[in-house]
């Protein structure tokens, strides 16, 4: 029984890992926590909904096309909004990201209304392994999230783009002297962020109903995951997300499931009191 909760927590942690990693990438390069993360996830879910339900594509293709379009939208938002604020303080940027969040969420509300929607997806019977009940959506979620994490890890570790992203995060002025063009790295980072967040939106939309507050339900948990991993550390964010997922899910054994976000909030508070650099924060070298 407990094993089932831990397994479910693991899977929801995987959904969480995508926006948490996206958050740390943006934090690394632009040094502000992106409060629009939740609304971006919502819009990603709706984009796939358009292709899946209204244009009748299989969800896989709808998700791929939707995430690519949203990658472009994310770059567009950066160019239109955040680029104008590059030299401002982190606080200005995060207040602005709140504004972006309202705009995105309400564009979705304007078009689709407040009603809950869901993807057109065949329902398969859950499978049983070692006493665990595993449904089809969970398998898809786990496979997609793991694949996305591997791709991001590969980009960061083994490509010139990844080296440049980490170099800009470490020391932007030195990177500039080495010929790394910050603006182009920022654009790529938004593209990756947009893709990851939109994919997370689709996975979240498979897990629960799609409504304009879909992403908002993840925002506190996403921040909890990112802070747990030490803001700005992608690998830490993944571990943080899995931890948050499992803790939230198992907490429903003791407290009402409505209070999941409260658990995340308490986790953030406790962590900031006890170990503000994050569980893995020491792995990041400041100087």
């Amino acid at each position: 029984m407990t094993a089932q909760y831990i397994f479910n927590g693991f899977v929801s942690g995987m959904i969480l890992a995508l926006p948490a990693v996206a958050l740390t990438l943006i934090y690394g390069i632009l040094k502000f926590p992106n409060f629009a993360s939740g609304a971006m996830l919502t819009v990603g879910a709706y984009l796939a909904l358009i292709f899946n339900v209204y244009l009748g594509m299989p969800l896989l293709w709808a998700a791929i096309i939707g995430s690519l379009i949203f990658a472009l939208i994310a770059v567009g938002i950066d160019q239109a909004v955040f680029r104008q604020l590059r030299e401002r303080t982190a606080i200005t940027l995060l207040v602005c990201s709140m504004g972006v969040s309202f705009v995105l969420e309400n564009i979705a509300r304007f078009i689709f209304g407040n009603g809950a929607r869901s993807y057109d997806l065949a329902i398969a019977r859950p499978k049983h392994f070692f006493g665990l009940r595993i449904n089809n959506e969970q398998i898809i979620t786990a496979a997609t999230a793991v694949a996305a994490m591997i791709v991001v890890y590969f980009i960061l570790r083994h490509t010139a783009l990844g080296r440049a992203m980490r170099a800009v995060a470490d020391n932007p002025s030195l990177a500039a002297v080495r010929g790394v063009r910050r603006e182009s790295i920022v654009r790529w980072t938004w593209a990756i962020t947009g893709t990851l967040t939109a994919v997370a939106g689709v996975l979240a939309g498979m897990d629960r109903a799609i409504d304009p507050l879909l992403g908002w339900n993840y925002i506190v948990s996403t921040f909890a995951a990112a802070i747990l991993g030490g803001l700005g550390n992608p690998v830490g964010a993944v571990i943080g997300a899995l931890t948050v997922g499992v803790v939230e899910e198992t907490s429903t054994l003791f407290i009402p499931p409505n209070y999941r976000q409260v658990v995340s909030f308490l986790a953030i508070a406790l962590l900031l009191i006890l170990r503000p650099q994050g569980l893995l924060g020491a792995a990041k070298i400041k100087k």
């Binding site: 909004v81 200005t92 309202f102 921040f223 909890a224 802070i227 976000q261 909030f265």
Partner: protein
């Protein structure tokens, strides 16, 4: 029409009180509070519950102020030595926690049904048909008192210390200012003001439910503060009046665009609020009104250059 205006002005007054609090926390001290809606709800529910228990409106107001002050102090304490981003995240989380508790603890808050019949201050002493005017007057008095108190505070040694911390907390610390204590105090003081706003909201509405405290309220208050010019209390009052005029103005959109339903109209309003926030931050980070005067002096002089200068002068 007059009673409509009184209603609007009362709402403006409550937003303005919240704005004064945010101006203290964020404008002066750089401490972002994304949980305003949550703290406001906490104040409103505290006041309503105390008031409904028969303790009287004064006790209820004091209780709301105290509870919100303590809550803000605790949140500030948790992010004690961390940068302001963490405080922002914590306040956002706290706001969510309050929302969830209010929704789910039905024995206390009646969940989404809300709390009706909240007693009002001086009810029965004033003729009923004049009550709204008196209430607006009372709100005006509260704003005036808070305004004068905050202006006085700014000119006190405490206020100078706050500004020193905002400019550079490391330098302030080397001058012997206890930065951490100061920040917690300021944030708590902001909480007290939010609590007062919450109490008056309860008294004004006489009925509260969770839908009155959505995150959009936080956006309104931020808009009012940014539009008025951060750290300027007089600008803030102008800012919230202007903001309300815009928001209420969009209500009349309904008559023009009758193809949209209520959800779509409210979505449009919220999109406009979000866009307004973004545009203000990009083009008018020092507020509308400071710039407005300048414009009158020199009417048509290189508008583009002016906006470039604006950007270099930012926070």
């Amino acid at each position: 029409m007059v009673s409509y205006l009184v209603t609007i002005l009362s709402l403006v007054a409550i937003i303005s009180i919240l704005g004064l609090a945010l101006n203290l926390q964020w404008g002066l001290c750089g401490m972002v509070n994304f949980g305003i809606a949550g703290f406001f709800a906490l104040g409103a529910y505290t006041a309503a519950l105390v008031d409904l228990a028969g303790a009287g409106t004064l006790v209820a107001t004091v209780a709301a102020a105290a509870v919100c002050g303590i809550a803000c102090a605790l949140v500030a304490l948790v992010s004690l030595r961390l940068s302001d981003e963490y405080l922002a995240i914590l306040t956002l989380g706290f706001g969510e926690v309050v929302r969830l508790v209010v929704l789910n603890e039905e024995w206390l808050t009646h969940g989404s049904l809300g709390l009706p019949g909240i007693p009002r201050p001086f009810w029965g002493l004033i003729p009923e048909e004049q009550y709204e005017y008196w209430f607006l007057g009372m709100l005006g008095g509260v704003i005036l008192l808070l305004f004068l108190a905050l202006e006085k505070l700014l000119r006190s040694p405490f206020g100078r210390a706050i500004r020193a911390v905002r400019e550079d907390d490391v330098v302030a610390a080397t001058l012997g200012k206890d930065v951490v204590k100061l920040r917690v105090k300021v944030f708590a003081l902001g909480g007290v003001i939010i609590g007062i706003a919450g109490a008056f909201h309860s008294f004004y509405m006489t009925y509260i439910d969770p839908s009155q405290f959505s995150a959009i309220l936080t956006a309104y208050v931020f808009m009012a503060v940014i539009a008025g010019g951060r750290a300027s209390n007089s600008g803030l009052l102008l800012g919230s009046v202007g903001l309300m005029a815009v928001i209420e103005g969009t209500r009349f959109l309904k008559d023009i665009f009758n193809i949209f339903d209520a959800t779509q109209l409210s979505a449009i309003r919220l999109i406009l609020i979000g866009l307004g926030l973004i545009l203000l931050l990009i083009f008018r980070p020092q507020g509308c009104f400071a710039e407005y005067r300048l414009k009158i002096k020199k009417p048509e002089k290189e508008p583009r250059k002016a906006s470039v200068q604006t950007e270099t002068r930012t926070t």
